[in-house]
């Protein structure tokens, strides 16, 4: 058993890498470009991760660390290692399962694409990075894989890079994520320099020993969480995720719904115990704000994938909020359930897009229920799960979160009541927009007859993953009790650990101990459940009233609240805001620096060269005119006299003799 936990995780990690390398280098030589290898490897991996999971369930936590490299003697040790605990073992299954289904789904979906091989190799790269991120026990290594998932996400979002929109989206995703990553990296630096270690267990031990505390601890927590803000598309860095929908739809299901975007939640869950009260407050509010903003945006979107994208952001906000209010296990639980039903939703969306020949606008759809029954039913089940309808997994996890927010508000009072209020209103909005989507797309009459006629149900390779994922979205998978997850295996296994800072008080947040919290949670459970049922029911009802029974004229209503509607439709103008501020500022300053460099810095250099040239010209002139002038003047004077005297120098000997004779005569008369 020991060997299982020691080597199997490494095997699991390296299998997708192998798939990536094999396809990248030899894909063209393999039959069918090697897609069957990638798919079967992933299913093998899924089986392996189940083995690891059961091994873990028997033997408990296992962690394995080796020296990666070190800097001289002493404390600068960089280690690499993995840990199998309840978080990572469950995440292994989630990642492998969804990756495997997405691989299978993609075989048909991507069929005939010019870059078929590339697509599967990128999927392998992504799965490798994501598994590494999940497995590692070390915050630096997590950052490493964190960036690698970012790159594979970049490559996959920009997969159809011939078109301009995917290029922009890929670039945007990478850069926005980088912003968060810088914060993450700074957090890592604080931790390393105060605690001298990267492994989570040592970090927590160091914090328990009081080596890192107070403001710096809060800063470290918030900075690490910045990574999550980027990767999990939290406010204010959420803008990249909707655009990332430009990637192929299975990729959106895998990366931008189920796994990668959940990495931020996973990170927050990992560092949950070291988050100080103020950091947790920050986390909570970011989560709540994100959930709210994106839910309001999702209501008005018309692109099927955009609606799902905003709902993903909103649900991620939920998870983050759950961790913030102290219910880490609920957040993780919601991550798991959400992964399955959101993957299902995206893949059904993919199925619709495939069946409709690349139509994404729901206003072009309608009545698809008859044409695509399997897709419709799986979509319905997943939608139920997302809305928190009883007997679904989503009901279990979402209600726990809502109960946790209520418990949280009851403990802290005051302004914190805004958190459950947001939580419940988001639940209502979620139900509303999901059913709006469902009704417009699947029910009613077809709006585009031509498209509708050509529409067809997807083949088995695509529907099979949908059915499995829909099945995984029911309550039985997680708990046999349809109204409470507490007795289910996942909640039994995954308990929220006691925070290292229990009992400390932040500005508006008080970290209470587990027992007290559980007590409050217990009280909040049933009220939360009934309230959420009522609100979700109301949301669904409203959706039917508006869009199915058409009791209310939506057009007129929209006209009435035009500014609000536009505000939501235009995504709260975040993109425009960033374009107008950060981006244009950066571009302007970049152009300015280039100008400064060219004209001023280089200008000084060239200027000094020019000055030197002038000086040398001047000194040359001086030399020519004054110094040389004196010399020439002397010469000139001599020359002048020479000019005179040369008259006598006739070169004729007779003249000289004449002079001689005259001279003698003159001398004769002088000295006579």
């Amino acid at each position: 058993m020991d060997y299982t936990l020691k080597y199997l995780p490494l095997v699991i990690l390296l299998v997708p890498m192998f798939s990536f390398l094999l396809l990248a280098f030899f894909g063209n030589k393999l039959p069918r470009k090697g897609d069957f290898i990638a798919v079967s490897l992933l299913f093998i991996n899924l089986a392996l991760s189940l083995i690891v999971f059961f091994a873990f369930a028997q033997t408990g936590k296992y962690s394995y660390t080796v020296d990666w490299f070190n800097l001289g003697k002493g404390n600068l040790n960089f280690t690499a290692g993995f840990v199998i605990d309840e978080l990572s073992s469950i995440m292994l299954i989630v990642v492998n399962a969804i990756s495997a289904f997405v691989h299978l789904f993609s075989v048909k979906y991507m069929e005939g694409d010019a870059k078929y091989k590339k697509y599967f190799s990128y999927l392998g790269l992504f799965t490798f990075s994501m598994l590494g991120l999940v497995l590692t026990n070390n915050v630096l290594l997590m950052y490493v894989f964190w960036e690698l998932v970012g790159v594979s996400s970049y490559l996959l979002i920009g997969f159809w890079y011939e078109k301009p929109a995917p290029q922009e989206a890929a670039k945007k995703a990478f850069i926005v994520n980088r912003v968060g990553d810088v914060g993450f990296f700074l957090g890592i630096m604080i931790i390393f320099l105060t605690l001298g270690t990267f492994t989570f267990t040592d970090i927590f031990a160091g914090i328990e020993a009081g080596k890192l505390q107070g403001g710096l601890l809060t800063a470290a927590g918030i900075l690490l969480f910045c990574g999550a803000i980027g990767k999990s598309a939290q406010f204010p860095l959420h803008v990249w995720l909707p655009d990332a929908m430009e990637g192929p739809t299975p990729v959106s299901a895998l990366i931008h719904a189920a796994t990668m975007v959940a990495a931020g939640v996973y990170l927050t869950a990992r560092i949950f115990v070291m988050l100080s009260a103020d950091a947790l407050t920050f986390v909570t509010f970011i989560g709540a704000i994100t959930a709210f903003i994106s839910a309001t945006i999702a209501i008005t979107q018309n692109d099927i994938k955009k609606v799902l994208a905003y709902s993903t952001i909103s649900q991620l906000g939920y998870m983050i909020m759950a961790i913030g209010v102290g219910a880490m296990s609920f957040g993780m639980f919601h991550l798991v359930t959400h992964a399955f039903f959101k993957a299902c939703l995206f893949l059904t969306a993919g199925s619709v897009i495939f069946g409709m020949h690349h139509v994404q606008d729901i206003r072009e759809m309608g009545g698809l229920r008859k044409k695509m029954p399997i897709t419709y039913w799986t979509f319905l089940i997943a939608t139920f799960a997302l809305c928190g309808v009883p007997f679904t997994s989503g009901f279990l996890s979402k209600d726990s979160i809502l109960a946790a927010t209520m418990a949280f508000a009851n403990i802290n009072g005051g302004i914190t009541y805004i958190i459950p209020i947001i939580g419940f209103s988001v639940a209502g909005m979620t139900a509303f927009y999901m059913f709006r989507l469902l009704i417009i797309a699947f029910l009613g009459e077809p709006r585009n007859k031509e498209k509708y006629d050509h529409c067809h149900e997807s083949p088995i390779q695509m529907t099979l993953p949908l059915i499995i994922l829909a099945a995984l979205s029911t309550f039985v998978v997680f708990s046999f009790n349809p109204i409470g997850a507490d007795s289910g295996w996942i909640m039994q296994m995954m308990k929220t650990p006691e925070s290292l800072l229990t009992g400390t008080k932040g500005m508006i947040y008080h970290i209470v101990d587990r027992a007290e919290y559980t007590e409050m949670l217990h009280h909040a459970h049933y009220p939360a459940m009934f309230l959420s049922l009522a609100i979700a029911g109301l949301g669904i009802l409203l959706a039917y009233v508006f869009y199915h029974w058409k009791k209310v004229d939506v057009e007129k209503l929209t006209e009435k609240i035009k500014p609000l509607y536009n505000f939501s439709l235009n995504k709260w103008y975040f993109d425009e805001l960033y374009d107008a501020t950060v981006i244009s500022f950066t571009m302007a300053i970049s152009r300015l620096s280039a100008w400064v460099d060219n004209k001023i810095v280089d200008g000084v250099v060239n200027g000094s060269a020019t000055v030197t040239r002038w000086t040398s010209f001047g000194s040359g002139k001086f030399d020519n005119v004054v110094v040389d002038g004196l010399v020439n003047f002397t010469g000139g004077l001599v020359g002048f006299f020479g000019l005179i005297f040369r008259k006598f120098q006739t070169g004729k000997i007779q003249t000289y003799i004449m002079f001689l004779v005259f001279g003698i005569i003159v001398l004769y008369f002088m000295f006579r």
Binding site: F69, G72, L76, A594, V601
Partner: protein, 526 residues
């Protein structure tokens, strides 16, 4: 004294002067035998690589070097100039002193690799090849010598000697504005050399070898505080004159690095130089500046080094951010890479300014990594330029589908350049930031510098988008993918980048003890 002789001549002399032998052979090959000239010229860098592998195999990584001749390896010490002086007391005594430690070894390996890659990249030169390769080999000698010399005089000789071939290589085989670029490069570096020379002479007259009682140019002796006459010009600790001397020396090195505001020769020189020379320039020449600071400025003036750390960190920060911003605004591919070099050398400077072991490790490692990565990038620019005869970023598009191998090569280099984990530059940049963060005085500057990470990503991704994404313009329908020779020059570098990104420890272990020794000197722990 000659350690590790081969045929009676020290291995370092071999590695430095092998190209000179090549030059002599090339002189006697008639101009018309172009192929022979190429292959003969290629032999010598290969021999250098072999010798540097020998160095690596026989290198003892526990010996620190830096300021003690005993702990240097492969030392060669011969009397070079020894004349009785009439004017000042004693004799002028200059040694031919070479040796390597953990700081120079990576640079020597880098130089030999880049030297070889440069020859491969030179195969596209079609004009007066004989002259080209003779100058090229001469250049390699100059670079190697700079990294091996342990005597200030010898160092300076190599430092300046290398300008000459560089001037001609840019000035004759360069692009349109080659004369301007060559003259600018030459005069700028020469200008810096004057500052260096002044300091070197100042050091000479301030020194008094404790053993012989004479003035000396020996770097290692000069690092010994006892060897500086306290009553001399540069005597004492923390005097204004010492600070001034440090700054003068720093300017000399800063021009080479190049550090803002002395950097403007670089974009011009890069843009005009032929591909191979750009590779050499970015891959090795820039490192000579930062190497000089670590090898000479810091150990000889530890007091001034500590005093100057803050300004140096400011300059490093400006380099990082300003370089990235300028790169973002470029329209010429090569110029963009040139500015990104400025930005990346800022990381090196930040590591040096941190004064911590981890920062120094990061700096040396970053020098090496920047050498390999930028070499690939410049090679890639050369590859596209050879085919398209333009470097305008707006002239391209959609090359990813047309040139898939080229795309694979360049995207790895690009991602390495933006510090993607798993590739070597990530480790070095992390070290640099960790080092900068560790030093409390420059912590804030380090945090601001991390903005560079984002900006780097921005312009690199923008470049990828411009050149490789989108649709292929009609005129490039005939363009061909990267060929075997070009793969041979880039793929080994990429392998180094990837391997060092995953297993950096063998490489880092090479320099650790030297770096620790350097830290000890600066902070007076030993």
């Amino acid at each position: 004294m000659v350690q590790f002789p081969i045929l009676g001549i020290g291995i370092l002399s071999w590695i430095v002067f092998l190209p000179v032998i090549g030059m002599l052979i090339l002189i006697f090959i008639p101009k018309a035998y172009e192929k022979t000239i190429k292959y003969v010229a290629m032999i010598f860098p290969i021999l250098q690589i072999i010798l540097s592998v020998v160095l690596l195999m026989n290198y003892n990584k526990d010996l620190a070097g830096i300021n003690k001749l005993e702990s240097f390896q492969f030392v060669e010490k011969l009397s070079w100039i020894n004349i009785p002086a009439l004017i000042w007391d004693g004799t002028i005594n200059i040694d031919y002193l070479m040796g390597i430690d953990g700081i120079s070894l990576p640079m020597i390996i880098l130089t030999s690799i880049i030297g070889f890659v440069g020859v491969l990249a030179s195969f596209s030169i079609k004009r007066n090849e004989k002259g080209y390769y003779i100058l090229y080999l001469f250049l390699v000698t100059g670079m190697m010598g700079t990294f091996c010399a342990l005597d200030l005089f010898l160092f300076f000789v190599f430092w300046e000697i290398m300008l000459l071939p560089m001037y001609f290589l840019i000035g004759i085989w360069g692009g349109e504005r080659r004369e301007y670029a060559a003259i600018k490069f030459f005069l700028y570096t020469f200008f810096g050399g004057i500052f260096m020379l002044i300091t070197i002479i100042g050091l000479y007259f301030s020194s008094k070898d404790p053993v012989t009682g004479l003035h000396t140019f020996n770097m290692l002796t000069l690092m010994n505080p006892a060897a500086i006459d306290p009553n001399s010009l540069l005597g004492g600790v923390g005097t204004n004159l010492r600070y001034l001397a440090f700054v003068a020396l720093f300017i000399g090195f800063a021009i080479k690095v190049p550090i803002f505001p002395f950097h403007t020769w670089l974009p011009d020189a890069h843009v005009e130089a032929p591909t191979a020379i750009s590779v050499i320039l970015a891959g090795v020449l820039l490192k000579m500046g930062s190497y000089g600071i670590m090898r000479i400025s810091y150990p000889i003036f530890p007091d001034a080094a500590v005093w100057f750390m803050y300004p140096m960190a400011i300059l490093a920060m400006i380099n990082i951010i300003y370089g990235a911003l300028c790169a973002m605004a470029q329209k010429d591919f090569k110029k963009l890479i040139a500015y990104s070099s400025i930005s990346h050398m800022g990381y090196v400077m930040l590591g040096i300014a941190s004064g911590t072991a981890i920062g120094f490790n990061g700096a040396v490692f970053q020098m090496f990594n920047h050498g390999t990565i930028t070499a690939v990038l410049f090679l890639s620019v050369g590859i596209i330029y050879d085919r398209a005869h333009t470097r305008g970023l707006y002239d391209f598009g959609g090359l990813a589908n047309k040139m898939p191998k080229y795309f694979a090569v360049i995207i790895i280099a690009f991602f390495a350049s933006i510090g993607l984990p798993g590739l070597s530059a990530f480790i070095s940049e992390s070290f640099v930031f960790l080092g900068g963060f560790k030093n409390e005085t420059i912590r804030v500057l380090t945090i601001i510098s991390t903005l560079g990470i984002i900006l780097n990503a921005a312009y690199i991704l923008w470049t990828i988008q411009r050149i490789f994404f989108g649709t292929l313009p009609e005129k490039w329908n005939e363009i061909t993918d990267i060929n075997g020779r070009e793969l041979l020059s880039t793929v080994p570098l990429l392998l180094i980048i990837i391997i060092l990104g995953i297993f950096p420890s063998p490489f880092i272990n090479l320099m650790t003890s030297s770096v620790n020794q350097l830290v000890n000197i600066i902070w007076h722990l030993n």
